[in-house]
Symmetry: C2
Subunit: 377 residues, 2 copies
């Protein structure tokens, strides 16, 4: 059987065709269904972006209204799922809880056994609304606060902040978070999306695929970089150190810095442009420039020393902190956004499926090795 | 950025190197760590095979004794996990329950945050024992039967049958099931194992990877084929039809038949050889040749008509049925075995990791497509 050996990590290997997302890593272009991310960040909403990802084109007014209504109507959690969130240790990591709760959702989903395009779309609405609810609800429970009911009159972004904080977000906060959701909604075959497609390609259901994607996102090489960035900012602040000097020492100690460089982008990550701007704006509004200025100094130093660009994670750290979001929710809110892309990819995979089953290059003991009787070993 | 377009489903693409499993699809060879599956099926046990997969060589007497003891000692489930199994709808599919329960296990695992080789091995013992317990325990609960305590004096195979049926299995049953576990323990980069490695490659924890693998196994293109085979045997029996004539009509109706052909093997699946023999032996012992004879007629007809060989799933259907195992447990018991290989692959991935992140060929709307204002759409 003919085999071709791919570079480690499948780097540069085209694993599938897709009409969802196009990235030009050299030019710093990210686009959903052909539309540039800068256009979407400037003019669109998460709802419109999710519509675009699922249905392949921008909605008209009536379509967007219907979509928004259906997404808001899907803001329900089976009481058994809320019971589950109350039953787990409050010290559990929000990503473990989210992974388990999403797996649990399928038990209460009427379409669990139906992988048709239509059923997958119905489940995409529900999963998108439910993941946001699970993240907010578990955070309330672990903090001993009352669970906040969803408000169907709010946007996806504003409802999440409402359910998380128990107070209506400012327009600036809701808009900033909405843009963050747009920026994170899809990124072609990133590891979690690829995991979702590998799982879906066995014709497993969408809940199985999304559960696997959440597991992949949990890894520090994928979703965890902005958490590490924020921990770095806190450490520098606590030490009262100069950011550039602190990072210089990290490099001298052969430590890695999170939030820089990207497998795909060889120029500025187009999402970083917006997150830098939002971090700065939120800082001015809050009258607290500390995290932004510290971030900026690190960014310039790393660029000068290592020729590395800040990626999506670097300024999302300070942006989320300025929105009052806990550090261990950074990765869960990545899922609150990326669910739009994950579900689009699972739907696309199921619509034209082939099992994803590569080969391994065998580098173990020679075949056939003898089965030596145990007394002679 | 240079990219290479791989065939759909990554067919024939070498995605990673591995020293665990070597398959020669043309010659019909399957081997673990260089040792032929026929040797293992004839002489080994599941415990010894798991040791081989995890540690790269066969154990000596003392090592096997210590391994067996540690695996048996890991037969514990946190009471919260048993509570969970009691709380879910008894109509839930065992694979949904297993996927969710395994995700839940990480919340009660002391090593959850530790991805070191040593911690991964400790978790591999626990996951291997716990998956078997979850499958058996949920089946007891859904049938309204009392939960059976694990018996540390029994082998992995015998303990599973004991916990499932509440009576000690015959030597023949335990031995047959043990061989089935050996045969299914690993299969290189099958879809569930590949999903586990994609997830683990973000440096996500082993529970995330195994949860994703269970999701992938749930898909009918992967774990579900022997369920479909058994349903076919029941349908033929119910219709009182001639097996070959029934299948001839299926082909005339353009229906697919499960349990035949394989992405990797182009000759007889070496696992099928053993399952055919075991199916026949169990049938003779039981004095009930019906399922075996029906299977044999179908196998010969499909071979003659379509030049397709029976794969691992075809005779596992009748074998498991003769062992008294319900049809919807066929895929869960695949997991009871494959956990040995999944964990070996996750450990190998973490030991020498690189993020698995391929690219997609973009086939969507041209970039840049305009962002038309909504009023003009």
């Amino acid at each position: 059987m003919a085999t071709a050996v791919a570079p480690k990590g499948l780097e540069g290997i085209v694993a599938t065709s897709s009409s969802i997302c196009w990235i030009d890593g050299d030019a710093g272009v990210l686009s959903y269904r052909g539309i540039d991310i800068h256009e979407l960040a400037q003019h669109s909403t998460f709802e419109e972006t999710a519509y675009l990802l699922w249905f392949g084109r921008l909605p008209n007014l009536a379509e967007l209204a219907a979509f928004t209504k259906e997404l808001a109507a899907a803001r329900t959690l089976d009481p058994k799922v809320v019971d589950f969130l109350r039953s787990v240790p409050t010290t559990g990591s929000p990503m473990e809880i989210l992974r388990t709760a999403v797996s649990l959702l399928s038990l209460y989903d009427a379409d669990e056994k139906d992988n048709s395009h239509e059923a997958n779309v119905r489940k995409a609405y529900r999963l998108t609304s439910q993941i946001a609810m699970i993240v907010a609800t578990f955070d309330r429970i672990r903090k001993g606060k009352s669970v906040v009911e969803a408000d169907p009159s709010l946007s996806h972004a504003a409802n999440f902040l409402w359910m998380l904080n128990g107070e209506k977000p400012s327009e600036t906060a809701a808009h900033t978070f909405d843009i963050a959701l747009i920026l994170h909604a899809d990124h072609e075959l990133n590891a979690s999306t690829f995991a979702a497609r590998v799982i879906a390609a066995t014709l497993a259901d969408i809940h199985s695929a999304i559960t696997g994607a959440i597991g992949a996102l949990k890894g520090p090489l994928h979703g965890g970089a902005n958490e590490a960035t924020m921990r770095l900012l806190y450490a520098i602040d606590k030490a009262g150190a100069d950011p550039a000097e602190y990072v210089r020492q990290m490099f001298a100690d052969k430590k890695k810095i999170s939030g820089f460089g990207h497998r795909v982008y060889h120029t500025e990550d187009p999402r970083a442009t917006h997150l830098r701007r939002m971090s700065e704006e939120l800082s001015r509004t809050a009258g607290n420039m500390k995290w932004f200025e510290m971030s900026r100094k690190i960014e310039l130093f790393v660029k000068e020393q290592k020729k590395l660009n800040a990626n999506v994670d670097f300024y999302s750290a300070s942006t989320y902190t300025l929105l009052g979001i806990d550090i261990d929710l950074f990765t869960p809110i990545f899922a609150v956004s990326r669910i739009a892309g994950w579900t689009a990819h699972v739907i696309e995979q199921h619509d034209d499926n082939r099992l994803i089953r590569p080969r391994a290059e065998y580098v173990g003991p020679a075949y056939p090795s003898p089965y030596t009787p145990i007394a002679e070993r």
